[in-house]
């Protein structure tokens, strides 16, 4: 049996009368990437802060590789790397100095510290700007240093709280790639987000969190399959769009509309079957040329609506 790298049980945190986390329980096996997916205010950050030992739970326990956070905080913390939701670095130090500092807090020094700092700067692609003050970096660059600071000490368990919020698509991709590489390298990851596609890309398993409770858990494709039967795709065509639409709509159980501002883009949905895209392409054969196709994932909004019957509160 695999050891649990991270185990949370019965986590509760109240802020006055507000129950921010309500008896949360989940566990992450070693080498696994686990995603906590939930809307704003669902209790993701509060949970994460208890997991990394920054916030003390009202009740419940957190165990990291068997070390209980409340009893042996130093042993547990040594194994964890924390990337907070907001950039938490010293603006008057350079990127490198920030990383060296946090490395030292984890007991790194000398040659090993220098090597690790250089390595993580490479991981986040900031080696060339490392000696400028953090305050002069762009928001996206600061976010990347923010991540690097959680990695310096080679944590066995990496905890990232919405690391891609507020960065451009390119940086976002770079961030996701580095997380994927870490997962491939055997790091256990706990990742929060409110983007389904991020969690799907990075995580082996997902827990959907609402009002401080996990309301569904499973592998991303399992979740999506149970959540929204059927699927969606975008198909861009060249030629007679009208005829193409009619041909696709003729398929049983398939509906089609034309995108509002892109007259050659068909939005196709079906209510049964995992993937009807091959049928759609078959139907278009000889009617119009297909330029591009893309499967459309259900949004968190839809998954959430399906699970709770309410739309996402903001």
């Amino acid at each position: 049996m695999l050891t649990a790298a991270l185990e949370c049980e019965g986590l509760v945190k109240r802020y006055g009368s507000l129950l921010a986390v309500d008896g949360l329980k989940f566990s992450v096996t070693e080498g696994e990437a686990y995603g906590l997916l939930g809307p704003n205010g669902s209790g993701k950050s509060t949970t994460i802060e208890m997991v990394v030992g920054v916030l003390i739970p009202d009740s419940g326990t957190v165990r990291v590789h068997g070390h209980e956070m409340a009893r042996h905080p130093l042993r547990a913390k040594r194994l964890v790397g924390y990337v907070p939701q907001e950039v938490a670095l010293y603006p008057d130090l350079t990127g490198r100095e920030n990383l060296r500092y946090f490395g030292r807090l984890f007991g790194l020094r000398g040659q090993r510290l220098r090597r690790r700092v250089a390595e993580v700067l490479d991981v986040v692609g900031l080696a060339d700007r490392a000696d400028e003050r953090l305050g002069t970096y762009s928001g996206g660059m600061q976010r990347r240093v923010n991540i690097a600071a959680g990695l310096v000490h080679e944590p066995k368990v990496l905890v990232l709280d919405e690391p891609t919020v507020g960065v451009d698509p390119q940086s976002r991709n770079a961030i996701l790639e580095s997380v994927e590489r870490l997962v491939a390298g055997g790091t256990t990851v706990l990742y929060t987000s409110h983007y389904m596609e991020e969690v799907e890309r990075v995580c082996d398993r997902v827990g959907i969190i609402d009002r401080g409770r996990i309301i569904a858990e499973g592998r991303p494709e399992e979740l999506m399959a149970t959540l929204s039967p059927g699927g969606r795709a975008e198909v861009e065509v060249d030629g007679d769009v009208q005829a193409a639409g009619v041909a696709v709509a003729a398929l049983p159980g398939v509906a089609v509309t034309v995108a509002d501002h892109r007259p050659r883009l068909l939005l196709v949905t079906w209510t049964e079957g995992a993937d009807r895209l091959p049928d759609v392409l078959q139907a278009l054969n000889g009617v119009a040329a297909v330029v591009r196709t893309a499967a459309v994932r259900p949004s968190l909004e839809e998954v959430f609506l399906h699970l709770t019957g309410t739309s996402l509160r903001d």
């Binding site: 916030l55 008057d92 946090f102 807090l105």
Partner: protein
């Protein structure tokens, strides 16, 4: 321990980079000490002339002390004493230039000395400078020794049954002094050099508190910055985090106070008394101020509102502790209240030093300050068990 140094080191680098370190430990103390010295006038060591003495008390003790002082060779060699009936007469004499300065024995002089051994004498100096101030101060120092000898003699006589005369010579042989008297200059519109001897240390103490507050603020700033949470996620005890901040605060306070002292001594020729005593008082006071301030900012939910209260605290303590208003001029109950502040104790310590006392006389203030420091360090330790978020 290494972790504490790592954290303090980062803090120091940051404070050096944003110039607050330089401001706190050097610029502000020197500027303040300079302003103060200019405002109070520079001490010109003038001896000689005529010194007015007003005995509002008229008690046996005050009469005795004045006679003794007038008869002492040091005083006789440098000044003539002229007895004046009232404060108004003294002011008039000053205006007319008949006296260089005047020492006034307050109405309750004898009673207070016998009750507590401490008293405050008022010195009148003319507006245009402090010509008589130095002489007046010499007289007061002499009076201070006299008062001490007299009270001690009385006590020894009671305790041992020796005749008063013998007891007195016993006491004098003993050469020890205690915080008998402090000066309370009453400046006829203008300035006085003597005040620097009291208010210089007062400034340093107020400043020490501010310096600690600067370092403590950064704990609050780190809470906002999120770096405190990040630090707490590292394998570092909460207490070490606060200790690191405290260490920087302590250093700032100590260096700032040393700079105040140094500039008032080097630039303006002030004399604060035994240097070793001054440094010791600074050190223990800085520890006490650090403990107190860290206890204030270390609450798990302490937020921005604490920043304001740090300054309020520094000022309140300075006022209550007699750093801005002369302690020995305040009503008696206020003198008791001042003992609740580290400033009050340190002020007593500096009074001992400026009236010529040495290390061996500082036991009380040093002990009290050490108790305050240790007490609040314990409070901090207990509060931090609960975490620091």
């Amino acid at each position: 321990m290494r972790i504490i140094l790592v954290m303090s080191g980062r803090e120091l680098v940051a404070r050096l980079r944003d110039w607050t370190a330089l401001l706190v430990v050097l610029v502000a103390p020197v500027v303040l000490a300079s302003l103060f010295s200019f405002a109070l006038g520079r001490a010109d060591p003038v001896a000689g002339g005529v010194l007015g003495v007003v005995d509002l008390d008229g008690s046996e003790l005050s009469a005795f002390v004045i006679d003794e002082v007038a008869g002492s060779p040091e005083v006789a060699a440098s000044v003539d004493l002229r007895r004046l009936p009232t404060e108004e007469a003294a002011e008039q004499a000053l205006r007319d230039g008949d006296v260089e300065a005047a020492v006034i024995f307050p109405r309750d002089f004898g009673a207070t000395v016998q009750r507590s051994g401490g008293q405050s004498l008022t010195i009148l100096t003319p507006a245009e400078g402090a010509r008589g101030g130095i002489a007046a101060r010499g007289v007061v120092e002499r009076v201070s020794a006299e008062v001490y000898a007299v009270t001690l003699a009385a006590r020894v006589a009671v305790a041992t049954g020796l005749p008063a005369d013998e007891a007195r010579s016993e006491a004098e042989r003993d050469h020890a002094r205690q915080p008998g008297l402090t000066l309370d200059e009453h400046v006829m519109p203008g300035g006085s050099a003597v005040a620097a001897a009291y208010y210089g240390p007062g400034m340093a103490l107020l400043f020490g508190f501010f310096a600690v507050a600067v370092a403590a603020r950064s704990l609050l700033a780190e809470r906002r910055l999120g770096t405190l949470a990040r630090t707490r996620a590292a394998p570092v005890a909460a207490l070490a985090v606060v200790a690191a901040k405290g260490l920087v605060g302590f250093l700032f306070a100590l260096l700032g106070m040393l700079a105040t002292w140094g500039s008032s001594v080097l630039l303006f020729g002030a004399d604060w008394g035994d240097p070793l005593g001054v440094v010791l008082l600074f050190t223990v006071f800085a520890l006490a101020a650090t403990g107190l301030t860290m206890a204030l900012v270390s609450g798990p939910r302490t937020g921005g509102e604490a920043e304001g209260s740090l300054l309020v605290l520094a000022f309140t303590f300075a006022v209550l502790g007699g750093n801005l208003i002369n302690l020995y001029r305040m009503p008696e109950y206020m003198q008791w209240v001042s003992l609740l502040t580290p400033n009050g104790w340190a002020t007593r310590g500096f009074s001992i030093l400026t009236t010529g006392g040495g290390l061996s006389d500082l036991g009380g203030p040093l002990l009290a300050l050490a108790v305050i420091a240790v007490g609040f360090a314990a409070v901090v330790a207990v509060r931090f068990r609960k975490g620091l978020t």
